[in-house]
């Protein structure tokens, strides 16, 4: 816990890491007031600000009225009233469809899907309605004000239906954006950007980090730009790309690799669709190796897209095949979770430069 805390704080303290595309609140360095918050509190703050700054924004979903099962919506109903922050019945398809309609009328609808594993009844609405509304109406209508928030990812004991990472399904749909924050500070800025982005956004929050991640978060209103990846750790030997909670694991692997003299560059993708190809490309051209890691099953995971694109762009600069350290191709298991997860050991053994390079499928 303490190491996690120091890790996040260390990221902020290092001036060297504010490199390239890291434009997080550079305007607010000295005069900003910051507060130590965990992920759900940061998201809560972002929602408060969003509702405050736009009187035509609404937050709804299952159980959001009392604060939500993960406490992300605490205090909203009390402050903004039941007409703007309200509970819906248990019907994901209805909730998202309803949100699309609301957004089509020029409002900002911030929809909560209680757990990403439950998002599938709404999949049709997201793919067929939200993503294509602007396109098929020739820009007469749009549902850009729609933001769908869902907690995703493993939590240690979630089992089949409280641990899934469905981001890959949504990355396959032109017309929506997919955003995944890695820490409280990022989450607040990214969520505000997502809500204010004029396109429908699916915002996945790593539920493992709701309480675990604590960081200094500025109290004012700030936005972190979408579709800009961030190099959170500079290196020269290998590039590692990830998002969300997996970055914590990857950072551990980086630290282990450093002990063996391997300098790792760690990139947080932040926005998966549309993703920042340039940053990753520049990094891989520098290092010559790429490792991608995510919790979702490896086949058809978003790592495949990154791998294919980087291969196209950096083929001559690559010294080894692109490596993917991901979840296994099984349903998310119950007792076998520790075997399933892409742990730092799996990452370390894959990124080792001393072993002859092969594509390791974990």
């Amino acid at each position: 816990m303490a190491s996690l805390l120091s890790r996040f704080c260390r990221k902020l303290a290092l001036p060297g890491s504010a490199h390239g595309s890291r434009m997080t609140s550079t305007t607010a360095c000295g005069s900003e007031t910051v507060k130590s918050l965990n992920l759900y509190s940061a998201i809560n703050q972002a929602l408060h600000i969003a509702l405050e700054t736009d009187p035509r924004s609404y937050v709804f979903g299952e159980d959001v009225g009392f604060g939500g099962v993960f406490r992300c919506t605490t205090g909203l109903a009390e402050r903004f009233g039941k007409n703007r922050v309200f509970n819906t019945p248990l019907c994901e398809q209805g909730i998202v469809g309803f949100g699309i309609g609301l957004a089509a009328m020029g409002n900002r609808a911030v929809v909560e899907i209680q757990v990403a594993d439950y998002i599938y009844p709404a999949f049709d609405q997201i793919v067929n309605e939200a993503a294509k509304f602007r396109y098929r109406s020739g820009n007469q209508f749009n549902c850009g004000g729609l933001t769908i928030r869902a907690p995703y990812g493993a939590v240690g004991h979630g089992g089949h239906y409280h641990s899934q990472s469905p981001e890959a399904f949504f990355c396959h749909v032109p017309g929506i954006k997919v955003v995944i924050p890695r820490s409280p500070r990022e989450a607040k800025g990214l969520l505000l950007s997502s809500i204010r982005d004029p396109n429908p956004v699916v915002f996945f929050e790593p539920k493992w980090l709701y309480r675990q991640a604590v960081e200094e978060v500025p109290e004012h209103d700030y936005m972190i730009p979408l579709s800009q990846a961030e190099i959170i750790r500079e290196g020269s030997d290998i590039t590692l790309v990830g998002w969300g909670a997996q970055l914590t694991v990857m950072e551990q692997a980086c630290l282990d690799a450093e002990k063996e003299g391997i300098s790792c560059e760690l990139i947080d993708l932040k926005t998966l669709l549309p993703w920042d190809k340039e940053t990753v490309e520049a990094s891989v051209k520098k290092t010559g190796r790429l490792l991608i890691s995510h919790e979702a099953p490896i086949t058809g995971g978003f790592g495949a897209e990154i791998s294919a694109t980087i291969l196209e762009r950096c083929f001559l600069k690559l010294e080894a095949p692109v490596s993917r350290v991901c979840g296994l191709d099984t349903p998310f298991p119950l007792v076998f979770e520790p075997f399933y997860m892409p742990t730092k050991n799996k990452a370390s053994s894959s990124s080792s430069l001393s072993s002859p390079s092969k594509t390791h499928i974990f």
């Binding site: 009392f66 019945p89 248990l90 019907c91 009844p121 089949h160 099984t330 349903p331 119950l334 007792v335």
Partner: protein
């Protein structure tokens, strides 16, 4: 808002009144003079009744019907049935309480949704149907599994993720299945099991088995769109599917009146008939399920709404008291507890004494403790089980551990 209930259950018939008088006379006799009457009372000390004459029980409330004629309030039963109801419900109750302790001891991980308070639904349903009739439900499935013939050992092994669990440790609390008694589980995504259940009913109709399917769901899931799709299809094709809404009045923490415009779930079928049943009365449930089975085999789908209550919160991570008062919970426990009701019936019909029932409960406690001890000794599933049963065959993915030696498994 408080759920309404009326309970005027204790209608004793003349037979039990007579026996009550008889017992009172006896006790007066034995207490008057210890020395003289001891041999007398010894002669009158009886074991648990093995009477085979049928008993008629009145349900606590009349049934409320939608588009059909409600069944009668008089339910045929027998001594054996009453006693077995008591025993099985007490077993279910004890099992759930034990699961509570195991969860707090972190032997059960993940999610655990307990059924105590709702036992009458599981028991009443079982009494009315055969093992060829299928049951499919959501995640609150421990007691239904037990009712379908599952063993305590399988329950606890599965809860603790051991290999002898009913789903070989791969399902956990929410995914109990029992193929040989047509129990189709155990589903995490609410509402999804209802169209599935209608599909099973279609297969049953096709194979002319004279069997029906009970697709169970809760008041929260009742607002899922797929239910109405399933109802429409079932009604269109006259499928023998019975949709059972276990209305415990709270969808997680949301009271039914806040989630549903019409909390009369038995009427939700519109063109499909429905019946509202007191779900805390095992005999009402039995009667309703019997009626529903006959109806479904002849006329197609029917909805049963079981008015029931859960004492625990939604799951073990929910204290269950933030959205309802403790008074409400204890009120229901005092007035409508299903086990207490059966107990009173057993006592008033003089089928067993208080002491005998207490002994039964002690036995049950021991049974549960033994099952837990045995389950604790059961090993976890082999790591290679992570890869089994994803597909049947034809998919070869290899997985290596960090040292490239262990946890190697190739999918068949």
């Amino acid at each position: 808002y408080l759920p309404h209930w009326n309970w005027n259950c204790l209608t004793t018939d003349s037979q039990s009144e007579k026996s009550a008088v008889w017992i009172m006379a006896l006790s007066r006799l034995s207490s008057r003079s210890n020395i003289i009457s001891r041999p007398l009372s010894a002669a009158f000390r009886r074991s648990i009744s093995t009477d085979t004459t049928p008993i008629t029980i009145e349900t606590s409330l009349p049934f409320t019907a939608h588009l059909c004629d409600p069944p009668s309030r008089s339910v045929e039963s027998s001594t054996q049935e009453l006693l077995s109801f008591f025993r099985t419900m007490a077993l279910m109750r004890r099992m759930e309480i034990a699961a509570d302790s195991l969860y707090k001891a972190k032997l059960i991980r993940g999610f655990c949704h307990l059924y105590d308070g709702q036992e009458a639904v599981a028991i009443g349903m079982e009494a009315a149907i055969t093992k060829k009739d299928a049951i499919i439900t959501a995640y609150r499935d421990h007691c239904i599994f037990l009712g379908r013939g599952g063993s305590l050992y399988e329950v606890f092994a599965e809860l603790m993720g051991r290999q002898d669990g009913c789903s070989r440790g791969k399902g956990g609390s929410m995914h109990f299945y029992k193929k040989d008694s047509s129990f189709y589980g155990g589903h995490g995504i609410v509402g999804a099991q209802v169209p599935l259940g209608c599909g099973i009913a279609f297969a049953q109709k096709y194979s002319k088995e004279e069997a029906v399917t009970f697709a169970m769901y809760g008041d929260g899931a009742a607002n899922q769109g797929q239910l109405f799709e399933a109802l429409n299809i079932s009604a269109l094709w006259d499928l023998p599917s019975i949709l059972v809404c276990e209305n415990n009045h709270y969808g997680m923490g949301t009271a039914e009146w806040r989630a549903a415009k019409s909390p009369s779930y038995y009427k939700r079928g519109d063109y499909v008939p429905g019946l509202k049943v007191d779900g805390m009365d095992a005999f009402a449930v039995k009667q309703a399920c019997k009626f529903a089975k006959e109806h479904a085999l002849k006329n197609g789908p029917i909805i049963l709404e079981m008015d029931t209550y859960r004492y625990h919160g939604h799951s073990m991570s929910d204290p269950g008291s933030t959205y309802r008062t403790r008074d409400e919970i204890s009120g229901v426990r005092q007035e409508r507890d299903p086990i207490e009701r059966i107990k009173k019936l057993v006592l008033s019909h003089d089928l067993a004494t208080e002491k005998e029932l207490k002994d039964m409960e002690k036995e049950i406690r021991k049974e549960v403790d033994d099952a837990i001890a045995k389950a604790k000794d059961c090993p976890m599933p082999e790591p290679s089980e992570l890869f089994t049963n994803v597909y049947v065959k034809g998919f070869g993915t290899e997985s290596f551990g960090a040292d490239r030696k262990e946890v190697k498994a190739a999918l068949p």
